[in-house]
């Protein structure tokens, strides 16, 4: 699984960094920076929840 951000959709709410701090940090402007590489499998359920919570539907989980 791989987490991606749609850069046009993302409004920089920063919710994803709260919900998934292991993989998402925010840059100085409040936009998410994702950790490199595939998503650790133990975080899959949390990642799914974070993607569903993104108000802009910009955070997405894909099969890598």
């Amino acid at each position: 699984m791989k987490l991606t951000v749609d850069p046009i959709g993302c409004r920089g709410h920063g919710l994803c960094a709260d919900l998934l701090p292991e993989v998402v940090r925010l840059d100085e402007w409040g936009y998410p920076v994702l950790a490199n590489g595939p998503l650790p499998p133990e975080l899959a359920a949390e990642a799914r929840r974070a993607a569903a919570a993104c108000p802009a539907l910009a955070l997405r989980l894909r099969k890598a």
């Binding site: 749609d6 850069p7 046009i8 993302c10 840059d27 402007w29 920076v33």
Partner: protein, 376 residues
């Protein structure tokens, strides 16, 4: 064969010089296959900057209802090669456009140029002389740097909004009005016509590159050289240096500074030769300010990041301590926009810090460099 003639060729002149496309040889489905195979054998790659193999793109966009878009927008202020082609050799581009349309089975083609572009009269006159199988429409795209990006053109032709759409879906799958779309730079199309007019093997031996040369050269403008020229050869073709050149910006505003003139170029649309008497950091700061203003303001890292690094550079030129901020910010911009605009700006800024490292130190030390001191 050179693709750029010394003066404009009308249809008769073009045919005398370059010949007529042998359409019968490419008739029907087998013919389409042969055409794509010829492009593959010629080793043709896109000339819009991406360098992607043209045959692969042709195969991907093949369908009975596709659209071919010729990109003649040339957003980079340092590049003039597409304008030169459309002004001097419009029929070579249009032959290429018809061949591409045939290869992918397109029913419609669009030639995109910037609104009010000086190439319009040449292109309009050329179209009036032809009796093409697939209709060609001219679209005047808003004059903006990112409007010439592939997905921005597709977006504009579909909805009238010239902002980039992002990487998915690829235009070959779902492009203009949802149809499979092939977007090719106009030089790529002219090269495609040359492949057919010369034959792939002759083309391979004779192929050339167009490069726009500006800065400290005697005859700034578009030069044509055997493919893959060195920077030395490119500067010589533009009449040689007017004064010592300290570095060359390779690839236009989103390009890279280098001091190695032996460097071989391939698919590079534009170079700028910085004279020894100018400040590379100052020039870069101006370009970054331009690129920041040209962001389509859709993606956070581009909308906020580009003005930040442009301000950092302006501060660096004035002697401020912004280099540390830049070291932290530049790696953050790459790959985080929906198009490659922020990547180009970050690449330019990083290469300026590398290439003009000594000037960075003097600026920081006193806010003045050798240029301001008059030492250069």
């Amino acid at each position: 064969m050179s693709i750029l003639p010394p003066h404009r060729l009308d249809l008769a002149g073009h045919r005398r010089r370059n010949g007529v496309v042998p359409w019968v040889a490419y008739h029907g489905d087998d013919g389409r296959d042969r055409l794509v195979e010829a492009v593959e054998a010629a080793g043709l790659r896109g000339r819009g900057g991406g360098g992607f193999p043209t045959a692969v793109k042709l195969r991907a966009a093949r369908s009975r209802r596709s659209i071919v878009v010729a990109n003649g927008c040339e957003g980079d202020p340092l590049s003039r090669k597409d304008a030169a082609l459309l002004t001097l050799a419009p029929h070579l581009v249009l032959d290429g456009l018809q061949l591409a349309a045939h290869a992918v089975g397109a029913t419609e083609t669009v030639l995109c140029v910037h609104a009010g572009s000086p190439v319009l009269p040449s292109v309009t006159a050329a179209l009036a002389e032809r009796d093409d199988h697939v209709p060609v429409r001219i679209a005047e795209v808003p004059r903006r740097y990112v409007a010439s990006e592939e997905s921005a053109l597709v977006h504009y032709l579909t909805s009238g909004d010239a902002r980039p759409l992002g990487k998915e879906p690829r235009p070959a799958e779902r492009g203009v009005r949802g149809r499979p779309t092939l977007v090719d730079n106009v030089e790529t199309l002219a090269q495609l016509a040359s492949v057919v007019l010369l034959g792939p093997h002759h083309y391979r031996a004779a192929r050339t590159d167009l490069v726009t040369v500006t800065g400290a050269v005697r005859q700034p403008g578009v030069v044509e050289l055997p493919a893959g020229p060195s920077l030395t050869a490119v500067l010589a073709a533009a009449g040689g240096e007017t004064e010592p050149v300290q570095a060359v910006l390779v690839g236009g505003y989103g390009g890279t500074w280098t001091t190695d003139l032996r460097l071989g170029l391939s698919g590079i649309p534009a170079v700028y030769a910085l004279p020894a008497s100018a400040c590379g950091l100052e020039y870069t700061a101006k370009v970054l300010a331009f690129l920041a203003a040209e962001s389509a303001r859709q993606c956070g890292p581009c909308m906020f990041g580009l003005p930040s690094i442009a301000a950092d550079f302006a501060e660096l030129v004035r002697g401020g301590p912004s280099v540390h901020r830049l070291a932290h910010r530049l790696p953050l911009l790459t790959g985080r926009g929906a198009c490659a605009h922020p990547d180009g700006a970050a690449r330019l800024a990083a290469s300026a810090l590398r290439t003009f490292g000594a000037d960075v130190t003097t600026h920081q030390a006193g806010g003045r460099c050798r240029v301001l001191e008059g030492v250069a």
